[in-house]
Amino acid sequence: MRKILVAEDDKDLRDMLATFLKAQGYEPVPCADGAQAWARLCSGGAEMAILDVNMPRMTGLELCQRIRTDPALRELPVLMLTVKKEVEDQIEGYETGADDYLSKPFDFPVLIERVRALERRAL
């Protein structure tokens, strides 16, 4: 079962994501902020990360930047979630190293297909 780190500060959405991923056969690793997510990633185990852009303590973009500059984590597939629809924000996300981007609100079936697509090309 593949472990997916889910970093999302909105508890309701985090719980929904975890429940949905679990129902799809994944093992979610929920985290409430970027710093907690970083600590979990450093302790190993996650094979993909779903990161909210706006989080307390460390934003999703900062976290993605750390992942991409860490030799042990740099290959980790990263899907960013954001309420921002501005093109420049999305471009910054890709430049920081995100593999894919999904704007909130999103449909869970779209999310899961994007996760699978990312799995196909990255794992």
Binding site: Q65, E75, V87, T96, D100, R114, A117
Partner: protein, 235 residues
């Protein structure tokens, strides 16, 4: 501009879109190959192959087998279409059938390039290029290409060219913001085994020059006397 050995295959029946994307993507360093019809899909090369952009309106049911095969060979397949193809149901169906992405045909070209480069990084790890941003996203540096930008009136502008050492120091600051970097640590990270032969005054000189090239943003590089530097945009 990124230039690499990957070519991008484009299949569309829209001559205006073909011309526009071709012009834009070529200017960004991509080599674009026209795929004249869906029947040709099956013969596309699969090794170290760049992304394939397919117009949803030209895809026939039989093509989805080829899409699955391309995807299984790790050739990214991006389907694009207008509003009629962009419903959640259609997107789920395309992705489920093996496509990597669905994008609207009206996508801004800059965003399209950013997406394509994300795919390219996965195909050719040697292309790996991560842009490091400062916390306030006022300074950024391309960790592989030796370039840096600062924000001026809301727009990114290239800085005066940085030397290799200045660029590496900037990347170190951006990757460890709000952190005291001791001089000894910086010397070790930048000059590695030669660090013992480098005078501290040399580091001071590089930092001074870097500050100058970052103009007002250079103030973020703060000296902690007797210890080292902190990159902080906090006032």
């Amino acid at each position: 501009m990124t230039t690499h050995s990957l070519s991008l295959r484009l299949m569309t029946g829209d001559p205006h879109l073909r011309a526009r994307w071709n012009r834009w993507l070529t200017a960004q360093g991509w080599s674009v190959v026209d795929v004249p019809a869906s029947g040709v899909l099956a013969s596309l090369p699969r090794t170290r192959a760049g992304p394939v952009l397919l117009d949803a309106s030209l895809l026939k049911a039989a093509d989805m087998t080829v899409v699955r095969e391309l995807s299984a060979s790790k050739v990214p397949v991006i389907i694009f279409g207008d509003g009629t193809h962009a419903t959640n149901e259609s997107v789920v169906r395309w992705l489920h059938e093996g496509a990597d992405d669905f994008i609207p045909a009206a996508i801004q070209e800059k965003l399209l390039v950013a997406k394509l480069e994300a795919y390219a990084r996965r195909i050719l790890p040697e292309l790996d290029r991560t842009v490091l941003f400062s916390r306030r996203r006022e300074v950024k540096a391309d960790s592989k290409r030796g370039l840096a930008w600062t924000k001026k009136r809301g727009h990114w502008q290239l800085t005066e060219p940085l030397t290799d050492t200045e660029h590496r120091i900037l990347c170190l600051f951006l990757s460890l913001p709000e952190t005291l970097l001791e001089r000894e640590y910086i010397l070790q990270r930048i000059w590695a085994e030669k660090s013992a032969e480098v005078f501290e005054a040399t580091l001071t000189q590089h930092v001074m020059s870097l500050r100058k090239k970052l103009e007002t943003h250079g103030e973020a590089i703060r000296t902690v006397y007797g210890r080292g530097y902190i990159f902080s945009e906090e006032s």
